[in-house]
Symmetry: C2
Subunit: 382 residues, 2 copies
Amino acid sequence: MKNFTYYNPTRIEFGKGKEENIGKYISEYEISKVLIVYGSDRIKKNGLFEKVASSLRNNKITFEELGGVQSNPVLSKVYEGIEIAKKKGIEAVLAIGGGSVLDSVKAIAAGAKYDGDVWDFFTFKTVPTKALKIFDIMTLAATGSEMNNYAVVTNEKTKEKFSFGGPATYPTISIINPELQSTVTKEYLAYSAADIFAHSLDLYFSASYLPEYIAGYIENILNTVIRTTEILLVNSKNYDARGEFAWAATQALNFTTFCGVENNRFDTHFIEHTLSAEYNIAHGAGLSIVVPAWMKWQKNSLPERFERFAEKVFNVKGADAGIESLIKWYTKIGTPVTLKEGNIPEEDIPMLVDKLLIIAKMWRAESLYTKEMITTIFNNAK
Amino acid sequence: MKNFTYYNPTRIEFGKGKEENIGKYISEYEISKVLIVYGSDRIKKNGLFEKVASSLRNNKITFEELGGVQSNPVLSKVYEGIEIAKKKGIEAVLAIGGGSVLDSVKAIAAGAKYDGDVWDFFTFKTVPTKALKIFDIMTLAATGSEMNNYAVVTNEKTKEKFSFGGPATYPTISIINPELQSTVTKEYLAYSAADIFAHSLDLYFSASYLPEYIAGYIENILNTVIRTTEILLVNSKNYDARGEFAWAATQALNFTTFCGVENNRFDTHFIEHTLSAEYNIAHGAGLSIVVPAWMKWQKNSLPERFERFAEKVFNVKGADAGIESLIKWYTKIGTPVTLKEGNIPEEDIPMLVDKLLIIAKMWRAESLYTKEMITTIFNNAK
């Protein structure tokens, strides 16, 4: 067990009807003006927005609103939110949506308390120590953003998809009501499953030391995702499966999987972020292409870990059989496993490699990401 | 998945040498005077006390001290601590020890901010909403007290062993350095393992609804405890095993196992607390007697859960085989499994039953704990 600090102050309110208490929850912090941020108009048509607005009004909380956040959320929308927050004296930001909306909200919350350009946080120029309070109502489970302090945003001008995190950007309260997630399409359910897998496997297959307790903890997350995804693809209204899927997503990136681990890396996310910045492919779809390709590159450095994965997650023998089982499972649930299936031109590989090497240099991670490594991984994804 | 709230603000500082930073950690909260509470003089002889004192002095923190806390900690010692805290203007309480010391500290911290008798918290007269800040350095892993807000104390006059918990009694920072736990005797290691098992099994075998994710999560804790206990009984200095054991202990009672669960009960702890209050038997030893006896009483109401346990934890088939495997394992690691082995006179059973029925009435839990049930469980422990 390596030394670690674990601290996670986010309060989770999980279950049916919890969103109706949002006004009460926010008023516990003596907040009287919030900015509601969301994606499409769907939440206005299905009544969720009005339910939230009514709960806020009942608790004497006024609000501004900002809609139109897209998946692979963009910096220009964050700037819009910061401007509203600064002009209107906003005290807290409330996300209604999935990881993209919440990540935008985290950037808005930190940016509203910063005099410079919020992109400075993403390029490591400075770490935000202050932010407006953050609340969220999750309508999609995947990113785990509801119980961590990280946000990923795309600068659409530079086509850079970068992340930041600081002590001030943990959500204060996250509401997870599985019922609100039951209308997610089968396609996006599969992408979400691939995202949770990537959060887990990036760590599982890169850590130079992985406590056996954590290995078992991650395998339990993966087995839960496999079991509940298969139930939900048949019956999208299965509440318990939807709930377990959502809770597994939260656990996969609330840093409980990091405890005692040594030298874990986030290779597949590092590589995928450039795919979704370049082609606007769904993040989960990009990950199901990159993860098996990366595993093929990585397998020889941790043979026992790969054998364990094969046995504990897919009940097969040997590293290769484990990787093949994962590829088959991705195909079964309907998420792409090759560049071609993701509509990414194979002839773009050299350009993608060059782009990743520039980012690696900026992040001072040249020693981790060599030209040979990235090229091999993309070739594995052909 | 049933509705739940999860919130746990305790910061864990885990690993080698972390105790040397205690002064720095406490000074982050602008605290200048603490009460150090501990058990035996062992921490003075082995240098731990001086290491802590020196770290406090280096950070300009003065301290008072209170030693002599025993296992099954008593109310009179809590009163002593409260008196010192009130008289000397103590701002935070620092526990150095195991669950008994930390539980005493929680009661002192809450009692110091309360004008009435601290025992009022234990008898449900009131819930503490304020407390001095709580810090701890754990020298024994078992109770999970380092990451929850509960405390168990024995009123030695009335022989009542009761608990309380409130929003103010989460530790602010808990230090878990496995090296400090490596001198625990084999006997107490076994009792600790039995305590962690009981925290897990009380819930696992009583919940009327247990999400499969949580079932797998608990089984991973139990398998970790089995594996690491067996390593430590052979080699008490195995750091990684000691670390995983400690972290499993924390996870077993930081309420992560409660998420989404319905109607879980704490039967074996309820029954055992009266044993250790009456006979001053080690809490873990009492639990290894009560748990299998309770499982025999409980098994028919949740047959599939018992079959799953047998398979996932002991790799055997059938409920009875699972219970027998647990009894054998307790015997193997050296913790008692019958009243006789625990030096508890069988002829005391009627008296113990009467006592438990009175407590059940006080806790308004008569419907859960009938005379027949408790008598059957004690008879199963003969």
